[in-house]
């Protein structure tokens, strides 16, 4: 029982991180209709920025918030200056710009802060004794905070989309930017906002993930998380917030369980197993678990 709970908790925690970054991917997809290949590196940059601020003596929570602001500005600026001009050209062009950002941001992080491993402190105390027990398994504050952050972001996003005029506009732009513009929605602002929010969510994911990540904070930290988040967003359905959350949790838990309970496959084939499962699900549901089916308009 204890072992099972431990594995479940580990899976849920990893899954929460995937889900947070997947939410960022969904935000971008809903505004621009593209997969932001650089989302993980935006998060990396923001996390390094937050780490640097902590070094200057800022409290961790303030540094994380500052990192989120930086993520917001960076992502919004990238949308306005780099993505929007090429978006009309082709899907591939947008992807290549994102790849350029991916490579450029990663190298910029290395240039500014170096490639050695950093230790990003957690928002909450995370010493060896800062835990409580749940069915015999230890639960630490820094894992709980990822669950809380995921729940909070999910609720806030849902409220934003369902209860506010801004959210209504965002949905209108996601649905059909042209007709939204005709009804007087400032699409330019909405698109930047969508990317900005994605950047902020990603920054949060990055700052919360690195104290837990095996490689702590280094230039390679975010790539595996980004891959997990991509898979989560696609599994859930690229335009579904709920899908991103559930997709992330499924992937996290499946990977942990496969490692633990399928000795034949074991840790060595963990990702493969998860990916094969996702592909099988997609064969049954080609637009993800909760994604909306696109009607072919001709």
């Amino acid at each position: 029982m204890e072992l099972f709970v431990e594995r479940l908790l580990a899976g849920v925690t990893n899954g929460s991180i995937f889900a947070l970054l997947a939410l960022a991917l969904v935000m971008v997809y809903r505004s621009t209709g593209t997969l932001n290949f650089a989302q993980g590196e935006f998060a990396l940059f923001s996390a390094f920025f937050a780490w640097w601020l902590v070094g200057t003596g800022l409290p961790v929570w303030a540094a994380v918030i500052a990192g989120m602001v930086a993520g917001f500005v960076l992502c919004a600026a990238a949308e306005r200056a780099l993505i929007r001009p090429v978006q009309r050209k082709s899907e591939l062009a947008t992807l290549i710009v994102a790849l350029g950002l991916f490579s450029g941001l990663n190298a910029a992080v290395a240039l500014i802060w170096g490639t050695d491993t950093k230790v990003m402190p957690s928002i909450v105390p995370n010493g060896l004794e800062d835990y409580f027990e749940l069915f015999g398994a230890r639960v630490y504050g820094d894992t709980v905070i990822t669950w809380v952050a995921l729940a909070a972001v999910t609720i806030l996003m849902t409220l934003l989309f369902t209860k506010t005029e801004l959210g209504l506009h965002m949905r209108a732009v996601a649905d059909n930017a042209e007709s939204a513009a005709l009804t007087g929605v400032n699409t330019s602002r909405i698109l930047m906002l969508g990317w900005g929010l994605a950047g902020a969510i990603g920054a949060l994911a990055g700052s919360l993930a690195t104290p837990l990540a095996p490689e702590q904070l280094s230039v390679t930290t975010m790539f595996p998380i980004f891959i997990g988040a991509c898979a989560a967003a696609l599994l859930g359905g690229l335009d579904s917030l709920a899908g991103a959350v559930i997709g992330g949790l499924i992937i996290g838990v499946v990977e942990a369980m496969v490692t633990g309970y399928v000795p034949l496959v074991g840790g060595a084939m963990q990702q493969t197993t998860a990916m094969v499962l996702i592909v099988l699900i997609l064969v049954v549901r080609p637009n993800g678990l909760f994604g909306s089916k696109e009607l072919e308009r001709v």
Binding site: L92, L99, A107, L111, M275, L282, V283
Partner: protein, 399 residues
């Protein structure tokens, strides 16, 4: 191409912005083709005079170019964005490596098997494309890309696992008929890669100039429309992906022979390689014939170039910036841009093009978009293009 333009400019009086029409099969066209063939042979021969190290770099360019041609078929021409071609490359490479080391195959005989395995894996991955589309399909390819290194590590009895495979040079001696020694295998691999590249490029050219090629591009541009035109979209996608896998697998086989060291880590067969291939395809020009070669040249030489005048992360920043700048100013890629420029001067037209058939009369022009093309003889009209051409032309002139 430019030499032709100069020739035409010199011999034919022509006005601005009216490209010379070069009819396929005409004398001028044949001369151009001969010049190109001579050029290719010339380039190949120049390559043999390079130092071992430079020659090996050119070989690496050619091998990458073949892999990119495979990717280009699926992604550039057919619009199936693949992030998993690193795995198809790896399948070919490991097939060659394992066959040489464990089954004592002579290297060149492993290539058909590497190709066949690439085809088979491509087909299997292509099958989900029947239902899964767009970015969701890219996820399927991503799954392949992620799974491959894990599978290699897991089945280490067979693949050497994380420790990798090392194919030593005595297994890679050129075939005896070449008369080359084992120390000259760089030359042999260069020749093999060069010939392979030319052949693969010709095959892809054939394909793209056939009805199947039109169907593939139709699938990319507008799936509903091409289906309404009678194309079995599902079959086209699956077979394209299979063929793409076959070509990339073949390149993988050559790669194994060239580098000799295969490992699931280190970026030869991981997503890093996929990104490299996609980048090369885009820089060269997605959906162009020469793009893969140009793009591969850039991606093989650029890192070396940047590391000579910068160090460490700056080269990475530069790479990212270059990529973005390129998208802004040359979204069609280098080959795509060259094609657009060349078209201003010369246009190759089918032999039965009405303008090529009627050298002197400029065609009537009632469409909304008058381009002012002026037909120039360019040696055209010297041969009847086909049995139906008379009917067609009489119908045309009767109006």
């Amino acid at each position: 191409m430019s030499t032709v333009t100069d020739r035409e400019r010199a011999t034919e009086p022509r006005t601005e912005r009216s490209p010379v029409l070069l009819a396929e099969g005409s004398r001028a066209y044949r001369i151009v083709v001969l010049v190109i063939i001579a050029g290719i042979i010339g380039l190949a021969l120049i390559g043999t005079t390079l130092s071992v190290y430079r020659m090996s770099q050119v070989t690496a360019v050619l091998i990458t170019a073949i892999a990119v041609i495979g990717l280009n078929l699926a992604t550039g021409y057919t619009g199936l964005l693949s992030i998993g071609h690193s795995a198809l490359f790896g399948v070919g490479a490991y097939a060659t490596g394992i066959l040489i080391l464990d089954y004592a195959y002579s290297p060149i005989l492993t290539l058909p098997i590497a190709t066949a395995l690439g085809f088979a894996v491509g087909l299997i991955v292509g099958v989900p494309a029947l239902r899964i589309r767009g970015l969701y399909f890219s996820l399927v390819t991503l799954a392949l890309g992620i799974a491959f290194p894990e599978i290699i590590r897991r089945f280490d009895d067979f693949t050497g696992g994380a420790a990798g495979l090392l194919i030593r040079s005595q297994f890679l001696t050129p075939p005896s008929w070449t008369g080359l020694t084992r120390f000259e295998r760089g030359l042999w691999l260069y020749g093999l890669s060069f010939v392979s590249f030319v052949v693969v490029m010709l095959l892809v050219r054939n394909l793209m100039r056939s009805r199947t090629g039109i169907a593939m591009r139709g699938v990319r541009d507008h799936e509903v429309a091409i289906r309404s035109n009678g194309v079995d979209v599902a079959r086209t996608k699956v077979l394209t992906f299979g063929l793409s896998g076959a070509i990339t697998g073949y390149a993988g086989g050559l790669f194994a022979m060239n580098v000799g060291a295969l490992s699931p880590d280190g970026g030869s067969f991981t997503l890093v390689k996929s990104i490299e291939l996609i980048t090369a395809m885009f820089i060269g020009g997605a959906g162009t014939l020469l793009g893969p070669l140009i793009g591969s040249t850039v991606t093989v030489f650029l890192p070396e170039l940047t590391s000579t005048w910068t160090t460490g992360p700056i080269s990475g920043v530069l790479f990212g910036v270059t990529l973005i700048v390129l998208v802004f100013f040359m979204p069609e890629g280098i080959a795509g841009r060259l094609q657009i420029i060349a078209r201003r001067f010369v246009r190759v037209v089918p032999p039965d093009h009405p303008a090529a058939r009627r050298p002197t009369t400029s065609t009537q022009n009632s469409g909304g978009n008058a381009t002012g093309q002026k037909s120039v003889a360019a040696g055209g009209a010297e041969q009847p293009p086909g049995p139906n051409s008379d009917d067609a032309s009489s119908e045309g002139s009767s109006r």
